[in-house]
């Protein structure tokens, strides 16, 4: 029997591995989900055969109630309500880990350090996951303001709680007494609340992904508590793959993970003395890919640099890839871009860009705030906001393509070289602009490669 159970666990683990892998590809995702569900079924059924398990009444009742509630919710929810439901479910998983840890504390037979550490980890991580997810749920469901909730000393308080949790953890491992456990439970629940409150509603999906990875680790910790392999494998798989997913999601929002988690704090702390002079922020081709991959509306703004790099064919290819990915793609041509009238036209026609996708400056500018990403390819003067902002600029008064009003701007240049007019360009210092240094053709080719290897 034991052996069969173990075998079943191995099978379940394998199904989880395949499940996660397949969930990451569009054509196999649904089947992957099914596989992992089958794995779960096998794991649950196998567990029921454990000799320790005797009282089937409770189990049956618990499973039934949980299944009905989960099933009904999942069926009822609107398309738009799904993310918050996932948050809620995730919170429940965290709470379950807390309860398992607690039960083991109360009634477990083993008191070695590893077990205690595991109980501690299960409760801490589970608790944070529970309340954190719940706050995320409230924010997403609109039952709580999506704006970061900030108050003075927040950072310090969180730090204090965290330190207390650490100390209590050590203490617990030495002296596993009940009040310490209760304190840990309460404090982790609090940490979850306080940790998520300062994060804005738009970042909630990332938070949920992160908490999900967290709850996987809580599961793995619970696995160490009861010495169960499948829990460890599944929990750890979810833990690490979740981290990767979290990072990917951050990249798609052109944010770093730290920025998401602590951005709210930063806003609170440093709002007063915000520097006027920004800095030019680079972005790696890979991160740029994640942003582009999620973009619905993209414009290319070619300039003389595209011609120098002879990047037109690569640009056209990237454009086609973006279109295939579902984005609307246009090419915004500034009348003076390049070094001769119609310079960009010659090149783009050579690369077979359809005339329909070429847009004049005046056609693009009114719609530019809907543009997710503006890719500036070796252009400089024609996107220099000084032309609109700075009466002392020699190009003041010239209409430009207002890429700085797009959500995100990628500026492709080799270095810090100025354009024909020799002017510094404030665009590159803007908050929403990221530089991708290097020859434009190389950069674009690499971006396209990212797209292709994504399939």
């Amino acid at each position: 029997m034991e052996k069969l159970i173990d075998l079943a666990y191995i099978v379940a683990s394998i199904l989880f591995i395949f499940g996660i892998k397949m969930l990451g590809r569009a054509d196999t995702a649904r089947r992957g989900n099914l596989l992992s569900a089958v794995g779960m079924l096998i794991a649950v059924v196998a567990t029921l055969f454990y000799k320790e398990i005797i009282d089937f009444k409770w189990i049956a009742a618990g499973l039934a109630i949980g299944a009905v509630i989960g099933g009904v919710w999942a069926q009822r929810v609107q398309m738009t309500g799904m993310p918050e439901l996932v948050a809620l479910f995730n919170g429940f998983g965290g709470l379950a880990s807390v309860l398992v840890g607690w039960a083991e504390h109360e009634f477990g037979h083993r008191t070695d350090v590893v077990t205690l550490i595991s109980i501690y980890a299960a409760i801490l991580i589970g608790g944070v996951t529970f309340t954190g997810s719940f706050i995320a749920y409230l924010k997403l469901a609109g039952k709580m303001s999506g704006r970061p909730t900030l108050f003075a000393g927040q950072k310090a308080i969180n730090g204090l709680i965290f330190a207390a949790l650490l100390i209590l953890g050590v203490y617990y491992c030495i002296q596993p007494v009940a009040w310490v456990l209760y304190a840990i439970i309460v404090l982790s629940l609090l940490l979850g609340v306080l940790g998520v409150l300062p994060i804005g509603g738009g970042d909630m999906p990332v938070v949920i992904a992160f908490l999900n990875s967290f709850s996987g680790l809580a599961g793995a910790a619970a696995g160490f508590v009861i010495l169960n392999k499948v829990l460890i494998v599944a929990g750890c798989l979810v833990g690490t793959s979740g981290i990767i997913l979290t990072i990917i999601m951050c990249k798609a929002m052109n944010r770093t993970f730290g920025n998401v988690l602590f951005g709210g704090f930063g806003a609170a702390g440093g709002a007063a003395g915000k520097a006027v002079e920004g800095e030019m922020k680079g972005i790696s081709v890979e991160d740029a890919y994640y942003v582009l991959e999620a973009a619905q509306n993209v414009i290319f703004v070619p300039g003389y640099g595209m011609a120098v790099a002879q990047a037109q064919h690569a640009v056209k290819e990237l454009g086609s890839l973006l279109e295939k990915n579902g984005a609307e793609v246009r090419y915004a041509i500034h009348p003076v871009a390049g070094r001769m009238p119609g310079h960009m036209n010659v090149l783009l026609a050579e690369a077979d860009v359809p005339y329909e996708q070429l847009c004049e400056m005046d056609a693009v500018n009114p719609t530019i705030s809907q543009v997710d990403v503006a890719i500036v390819i070796g252009a400089n003067d024609v996107v220099n906001p000084a032309a609109a902002d700075d009466p002392s600029s020699p190009i003041y008064g010239m209409p430009i393509i207002n890429v700085h009003e797009a959500r995100t701007v990628f500026a492709l240049k080799r270095g810090k070289g100025a354009g024909f007019s020799g002017l510094e360009n404030a665009l590159f210092f803007r908050e929403n602009c990221r530089m991708i240094y290097g020859d434009a053709k190389d950069t674009i080719t690499q971006l396209a490669a990212q797209f292709k290897s994504g399939h």
């Binding site: 009238p341 119609g342 036209n345 005339y355 004049e360």
Partner: protein, 376 residues
Amino acid sequence: MKIFVPKETDPIETRAALDPVSAKKLIGLGAEVVIESGAGERADHHDADYTAVGASITTDRAGTLAAADAVLRVRKPEPAEIARQKSGALHVSFLDPFNESGLIKAFADQGVTAISLEMIPRTTLAQKMDAISSQANLAGYVAVILAASRMKTILPMMMTPAGTISPAKFFIVGIGVAGLQAIATAKRLGARVTAFDVRPEALEQAESLGAKALRIDLGQTGGTEQGYAKELTPEQLEKQRLEQGKVCAQSDVVITTAKVFGRKPPILIKSDVVAGMRPGSLIVDLAAEGGGNVEGIVPGEEVVTPNGVRLIGLANYEGHVATHATQVLAANFANMIEHFWDKEAKAVRINLADDIQKGCVITHGGAVVHERFKTA
């Protein structure tokens, strides 16, 4: 074998039947090549260029005609010159055999073996001697260059500080070899190109060059087995004219290329369509020499209609690029002679069982041997 290339007599003809490169090739086979003095002059090939490769130059046209085993020329001969050739000799040129029954009779009577370049089968194997293709190809290019040089506008799109210049709209009717090259050339220059043909596969070919194909449902159509187009029914022509009229009205340049095998070219653009076109727009008719695809065309001339449309109906488009036209035409001649060359006899071997010769040899051994012209 003594091969003679007389100077072309038609004043609009700028090409020659052989260039020095192909002459050299024939001499390499073992032939003797004689060129009438000045024959290549208008294609920038001078007598000295020919002698440099081993050909001889003559000024005695009549005498050499009589002595030659083979005469190569571009255009069909005067009947009087046929009579000069010796019996059993070869004559290769464009012949227009459907309209020149007199010439065919003259060849047969004289015992000359006449090969018509037009009649070379359009098969893959015979492509290297297919002069219709090699010349039509250049004609298609020339049509676009001519149009571009006569327009008061430019072809490509340009977004400039002084506003946007929109690309010229070209409409190519008839997507044979010439039509395809016209599409390619106009596309290269940045024009928007629409194309039409009655053969559906030709529409695909146009698209393979990046043109937009105008698809009109005409019901049953098709080509002969040799790849030439069949004539359409009047209803079909009517529907086609209607749809085409719409496109023409929006076009800056219309190029027509529909020659129909052995017949007068069909009228594709009637006067009402021309009247609907914009002032300043241009029509280039590649079929003008045979009568034209456009109503009102005057072969060899440029006509301006009352509403300011310019109709261009030259006779010898490929002759505009005489050097290259001569190069490929001469290669066609040389390839043909090489293909049928008898190494021992050092002469062209006539073998009417051969698929290619069956198609293009009109008269042989004092008789009309070609199926299509036997009754004639």
